[in-house]
């Protein structure tokens, strides 16, 4: 494990406060708020004036906002670089949001290495995707509304990443959930998109409910939600926090588990991943930006940000690691059999997110973030490439009806190949460095089972990436004949981002060399609290492990090549599919998870609700109320029948009254 420089590993808020008073004048702090404000401004302009502005202006406003925001982020990043490592902590208090009785929550921004990396990823990849969208969404009627939502998404994501307390993080958290709802359901005329959007928001809300509980626990335990104060107190309360509390788990374990439920919901891990594949109903740039690069990584960012708490809760870390690993292998298997180009990449994203959680779970927070950073580049590339293909084939998404596109779409093909290789984790590309580090950290930390799962996952990743590439770009064209002649490559606005991302997919990895000590890790070290199994790193093993994972990934690609390209093995996939009939069908239907939810959660709830309404509300309560009214009415008719109108009865009633009254007086007393 890396021998982190422990003495200044952890930030003391007090230290930082004195410093800020020193260079009061023009300091970079009060530039932080510019980063999210520009996208917000872009949103407001486009949502209100969008319809009246020409498309050119709309795209300039949107992309400009992202561009400036990226520029400011870069500026802040370089300012942060030349600060001494232990001083890289800029905090800006905007205003007190909620203050009542003992609860206080301020709206403030925090820029430190972790959030610097994140805003770079968000604004950088975001800007490229904005440019790409100009081409992709060119002839869509709601052009302005699309860019407005994209900018709103960027605003909330930056809010999430720059927040200096858990409450503002939650605001960003649900804000991005809203934008994903709006963007998935962008083509709302299509019922599938509308229900996919609703599904995404509700499943996210399930996670958010858990996240909220985590928030409440933090507040009731620490009395505050500000990161600085919480982590500082966590330091002080070390002994008590870990004492076994409710249900045998310590308080900090409960907190971290609750927060992780939120992460599961947002980053589409088992069991709450079901919304991501359906989210492919949205436009492809949306999938690229939200469901690959930024939003789904919010979960990992949150876990990394709360690393001081997670290190105090080894059990939670184990849970994170296991969930990550299982999701990785689970999603990888499904990806191997999917035929929709976007769904393959979606399951691949879920799998890669699993890897990130695996990395974080085994204590290598920096490696997790590093993989997040590289993944953003090549996964966005894959999605945009797929977008270009779909765009060219007039919304054809089934890879079995593609093939032989390389000669017609050279740029897309080659960039797609780079992305595929990076995703598979082949040597020079970014994926190799980040994924290998995670596998190595897992192995080194003694989590051999997890390491093996990771390795198996790597093999499957290699396979399905190769399958995807070969079926789409190699072989002969199997699609709709009259489309065959006018397949054209992506226009420049879509091409350039592809190329830039391809370059990134290659270059991004070099920042992380040598593993665990690369400049990237050094940069993140001060923020990420190294804990857990940091026993002496067996350096000797590093290289052979890397070679092993490379071979495994290569084998995967090789099998892919054999299955789908080489003539001799042409019918092997069909044979195996036939032989493993049962297994194939189960995996093809995504293990029937969606059906399970529908039959065992959604369906019964609807029936119960209907029963509650008709059964309890109408029958029982209203029945009782109307019953009483009916009773009164019957009583009334009864009394009226006694009133016969004959004088005799009246005299009788008087006599009865007299007899009873006197009888009581004489004997009753």
């Amino acid at each position: 494990m890396v021998h982190g420089n422990s003495q200044n590993r952890f930030y003391l808020l007090s230290v930082n406060r004195e410093l800020r008073t020193v260079n009061e004048g023009f300091s970079m702090e009060n530039l932080i708020w510019l980063v999210p404000t520009f996208p917000l401004a872009g949103f407001l302009v486009n949502i209100f004036l969008g319809r009246r502005l020409a498309r050119l202006w709309v795209s300039w406003v949107a992309c400009g906002a992202m561009g400036i925001s990226f520029g400011v982020s870069l500026g802040l990043f370089f300012h942060l670089i030349n600060l001494a490592p232990h001083l890289r902590h800029l905090e800006q208090e905007l205003f007190t949001w909620i203050r009542i009785a003992d609860f206080k929550a301020a709206a403030g921004f925090l820029l430190d290495p972790l959030s610097a990396v994140m805003i770079l990823v968000v604004t950088g990849v975001g800007f490229l995707i904005h440019v790409y969208s100009i081409g992709y969404m060119g002839e869509d009627r709601d052009f302005a509304r699309f860019f407005a939502y994209l900018n709103l998404f960027a605003f909330f994501m930056l809010l999430l990443v720059l927040a200096n307390n858990y409450l503002l993080l939650f605001v960003g958290w649900e804000g991005v959930g809203l934008c994903s709802y709006l963007l998935i359901g962008f083509w709302f005329e299509r019922p599938a998109a509308a229900s996919a959007a609703q599904k995404a928001f509700v499943v996210n809300r399930v996670g958010d409910a858990g996240f909220l509980l985590g928030l409440f626990l933090i507040w009731t335990t620490f009395g505050t939600l500000q990161y600085g104060e919480v982590f500082h107190q966590a330091e002080g309360l070390h002994g008590v926090l870990t004492a076994p509390a409710g249900g045998g788990l310590s308080v900090v374990t409960w907190i971290t588990l609750a927060l992780f439920i939120g992460a599961i919901g947002k980053s589409a891990q088992l069991p709450l991943y079901v919304w991501l594949p359906d989210a492919m109903e949205g436009p492809t740039p949306v999938s690229a930006l939200i469901h690959a690069a930024t939003m789904v990584t919010a979960g990992i960012y949150m876990v990394a940000r709360s690393s001081p708490l997670y290190t105090l809760a080894p059990f939670s870390l184990a849970v994170v690691a296991w969930v990550g690993a299982l999701t990785a292998i689970f999603a990888a298997t499904i990806a191997c059999v999917q035929n929709d180009i976007k769904r393959v990449i979606a399951y691949s994203t879920i799998s890669q997110l699993g890897y990130m959680f695996l990395g974080v779970g085994v204590g290598a927070f920096a490696s997790g973030i590093f993989h997040l950073y590289t993944h953003a580049a090549f996964k966005a590339l894959l999605f945009l490439g797929a977008g270009a293909v779909i765009h060219a084939l007039h919304h054809e998404q089934d890879i079995q009806r593609m093939g032989g596109l390389r000669p017609h779409m050279r740029v897309t093909a080659y960039t797609f190949a780079v992305g595929a290789l990076a995703n598979a984790g082949i040597f020079p590309f970014a994926g190799f460095w980040s994924k290998d580090e995670i596998l190595f950290a897992a192995f080194n930390g003694g989590f051999y089972v997890l390491w093996f799962l990771g390795l198996a996952g790597a093999f499957l990743t290699g396979f399905y990436m190769a399958r995807l590439y070969f079926l789409t770009f190699e072989g002969e064209y199997r699609g709709d004949p009259h489309h065959a002649h006018d397949i054209h490559d992506a226009p420049p606005t879509m091409g350039i981002p592809l190329i830039v991302l391809a370059v990134c997919s290659v270059v991004a990895g070099f920042v992380g060399i040598p593993p665990e000590q690369g400049p990237f890790h050094q940069f993140l070290a001060p923020v990420l609290h190294h804990g857990g199994a940091a026993q002496a790193a067996a350096h000797g093993l590093a290289v052979p492990m890397a070679v092993l994972s490379l071979l495994v990934a290569g084998a995967g690609i090789g099998v892919g090549y054999l299955f789908y390209v080489s003539v001799s093995w042409r019918n092997v996939p069909e044979i195996w599919a036939a032989r493993l009939q049962g297994l194939y069908r189960v995996v093809y239907h995504k293990y029937y998870v969606d059906e399970f939810y529908q039959d065992w959660v959604v369906g019964p709830l609807d029936r119960l609700a209907f029963f509650l309404w008709r059964g309890f509300d109408v029958a029982v309560v209203d029945g009782a109320v109307n019953g009483v009214a009916r009773l009164m009415e019957m009583g009334s008719w009864g009394l009226r029948r006694i009133q016969t109108g004959v004088v005799f009865n009246y005299v009788l009633s008087i006599l009865v009254g007299v007899v009873i009254f006197l009888g009581y007086l004489v004997w009753g007393r």
Binding site: M632, S636, Y650, S653, G657, V658, L662, L665
Partner: protein, 485 residues
């Protein structure tokens, strides 16, 4: 008791004499007037009533004047006299139009009403049980005739017959009770009875509790408390509407004045074992009155049952037995009089020639055909139901607080549940008026000025009693103080 030549206290007797004079005056004037001028009889009656009222108001606060130990004219009786005269005046106002339509016997009608009022006044200021009996009969006999006034209408005859037979039957019980009490105490004067029953032992004497029992039975019949209530709905439905109006407000007020006089002076420390039967009677009266009224189609019959129910609420205050309880009865009777007379004024205004008692459906859509009539009817219904901004609420509020102060919370809860039931059928009238489409073929009645005056007076009084009840309330408290214990 030696019969000395007691000189008559003319001052005290003035109101009674004035009223008798007015009654005889209308009777005589009727002989000389031609049919067209009969309406002047009504004016004479009204002026007589108003002068008597003025006299009483002037006399308020004056010291107690006992007339031959038989009649007491104290603030309590003055308060009730005012109420009776008010009721009589409103009744005359209300019945001017319908009596004119009948044509015959206008003189007799007004005379009987005035004599009945005289009977009430005697009951209210009776100092002697016999005076109670005399007042009762002086009230009842004119009412027997009045309820049978429409000789041609079979329903009126039936109502008169029933009222007569059952009334006489009940007053026989009353008398028998008085006889026994006379036997036990030696005198029928309320003061001496009170002295005699002062110490608890007296109650053990069989003659006493038989006497008191029968006395209460007689009074309970007049108040229409439950087992003795059966006569009321038929009589009130059968009698001509103005007479029903007079009876519903007048007899109840008179009966309760006698009840309070007897309870207040003679039986004031009622031994505890007498409370449960009264408790039960109050409960039954409220329950039967409200529940029976739920499904009534005829408005007159519904108001008859509702008057039984309101008697129940008043009995709750009687059971409470405190001075605040009694003053709440006084206040409630004032509000009650206005509510009912107002409601009947509307019924009379809408009643058409020769039609039986009006059913609810004939009021459909009234809200927008006659906004004035409908609004005042709505105010009376809300007040009868006991909804806040009206006097009815304040009346009930006083009764409930008196009962709660006397620790009868159980009874109050029952009273509250009963008034909840009553909300349904009172508001159903408003529903019919405002929320249902009007049916064709309803002649738009001409609003005679007399009816308009009554409506205005009643509505204004109810809203005033609802919003600023303190004035009348303090008057009621002072009146009860004057005769209490």
């Amino acid at each position: 008791m030696s019969v000395t030549g007691t000189q008559l206290d003319w001052g005290g007797m003035a109101p009674f004499l004035l009223l008798t004079a007015t009654a005889l005056g209308t009777l005589l004037l009727d002989l000389f007037l031609s049919p067209r001028h009969r309406v002047r009889l009504a004016y004479l009656g009204l002026t007589g009533l108003l002068i008597t009222m003025a006299l009483l108001v002037h006399g308020f606060g004056g010291q107690e004047r006992v007339v031959a130990e038989m009649l007491i004219v104290d603030d309590f009786s003055r308060f009730f006299h005012l109420v009776f005269l008010l009721i009589a005046a409103l009744t005359i106002l209300v019945s001017v139009k319908s009596v004119e339509q009948e044509g015959t016997h206008q003189g007799e009608y007004y005379t009987l009403v005035l004599f009945a009022t005289l009977g009430m006044m005697v009951m209210a200021s009776a100092a002697d049980l016999i005076m109670v009996f005399l007042g009762l009969e002086a009230l009842s006999i004119p009412l027997y005739i009045l309820s049978g006034f429409l000789r041609g209408d079979v329903r009126s005859n039936e109502s008169a017959l029933k009222y007569l037979l059952l009334g006489a039957f009940a007053s026989a019980f009353l008398l028998y009770g008085i006889a026994f009490l006379y036997g036990a105490v030696g005198s029928t004067r309320l003061k001496s009875i009170a002295a005699h029953l002062g110490h608890g032992a007296a109650w053990e004497n069989p003659l006493v509790f038989l006497g008191v029992g029968l006395l209460l039975v007689g009074l309970a019949f007049k108040v229409a408390a439950v087992p003795f209530h059966m006569w009321l709905p038929d009589v009130y439905e059968g009698a001509p509407t103005p007479v029903t109006a007079f009876m519903i407000a007048g007899t109840k007020a008179a009966a309760f004045s006698a009840l309070l006089r007897v309870f207040g002076t003679a039986l004031s420390p009622l031994p505890p074992e007498w409370i449960p039967p009264l408790w039960v009677v109050a409960l039954l009266t409220m329950g039967v009155g409200n529940i029976a009224a739920l499904t009534q189609q005829s408005i007159k019959r519904m108001l008859a049952y509702s008057s039984i129910a309101h008697a129940g609420y008043l009995l709750v205050a009687v059971v409470a037995g405190t001075s605040r309880g009694f003053s709440s009865i006084l206040f409630y009777l004032v509000v009650y009089a206005f509510m009912n007379l107002g409601a009947f004024a509307v019924i009379i205004a809408l009643a058409r020639q020769g039609e039986e008692s009006p059913t609810l459906s004939s009021y459909a859509g009234l809200g927008f055909r006659h906004p004035v009539l409908a609004f005042s009817m709505a105010v009376f219904m809300f007040s009868l139901a006991g909804l806040p901004p009206t006097g009815g609420f304040m009346g009930k509020f006083y009764i409930f607080s008196a009962a709660v102060e006397a620790d009868y919370v159980g009874l109050v809860i029952i009273a509250v549940v009963c008034s909840l039931i009553s909300v349904f059928f009172y508001l159903r009238v408003v529903v019919v008026m405002y929320m249902e489409e009007p049916r064709e073929g309803h002649s738009s009645p001409v609003l005679s000025p007399a009816i308009l005056v009554t409506l205005f007076l009643a509505t204004a009084a109810i809203l005033q009693l609802g919003l600023l009840p303190a004035g009348v309330w303090d008057l009621a408290v002072r009146s009860v103080q004057s005769f209490w214990g």
